[in-house]
């Protein structure tokens, strides 16, 4: 059992900054990269706000941790599922989100998007297939 790769999904449902969950969840994700598991992230409900562009925290004094999402690709974490309906309900499109990419070693290191837009139903399927779901 311990040699089998498990599917880990980190589900993000909360907006960043109002609570700490987005930041501390990302810290777990980055650590998980060292364990060679099949890691993916899901952004739904207010979680979609975690990866919006132009986060400027100067006035609030909060730490802007959004650049850390850009590092995920370098750690082989390149499945960031964003729920389409959650974006639409919040008046957002893919254009509002950061350009998160990874280099595909199986395709001559071509740069590809890590964000995968999925419907609610597709996300339900993905969640159902996971071994470990860590929610925040």
């Amino acid at each position: 059992m311990s040699d089998d790769i498990k599917k880990f999904m980190f589900v993000n449902t909360k907006a960043p900054y109002g609570t700490v969950y987005a930041l501390e969840s990302l810290e777990v994700v980055l650590i998980s990269a060292a364990f060679d598991q099949d890691v993916s992230l899901a952004f739904c409900d207010d979680g979609v706000f975690q990866i919006t562009k132009n986060q400027n925290t100067e006035g609030s004094g909060m730490k802007n941790f959004s650049p850390a999402y850009k590092a995920l690709g370098d750690y082989d974490i390149n499945k960031l599922y964003v729920e389409k309906e959650s974006l639409e309900e919040r008046g957002l499109t893919l254009d509002n989100l950061m350009d998160l990419t990874y280099e595909d070693e199986d395709d001559d290191w071509a740069e590809k998007p890590s964000i995968k837009l999925v419907t609610r139903a597709e996300l339900a399927d993905l969640m159902d297939q996971q071994d470990v779901v860590i929610s925040s």
Binding site: C44, D45, A124, M127
Partner: protein, 102 residues
Amino acid sequence: MAMLHTVNKSPFERNSLNSCLTKSKEGSTILLIEDAVLGALKGTVIADKLTTAMTTKNIYVLGSDLNTRGFTEADILDGIKVVDYSGFVDLVAEHANVQSWL
């Protein structure tokens, strides 16, 4: 084996039960714990939504959280089953995986 979903916040306070309902597949199980047990009461604005959900999913409520808040099995929607913590453990063991909606 299906997934077990737990929901712990009241649906009148937060969207998490709704999110769970939209992202849990047919045949899955939903367990309401802590403040979410309030969503199981008869005659609420979400009663119809839960009754419909019950046609394709199994819905349970943690009895001790219901009692703690002053309610009993008689107060909840028909079709929602009550379990204790042992039942909670069994549900986790019987399902392939578990997801918490917070």
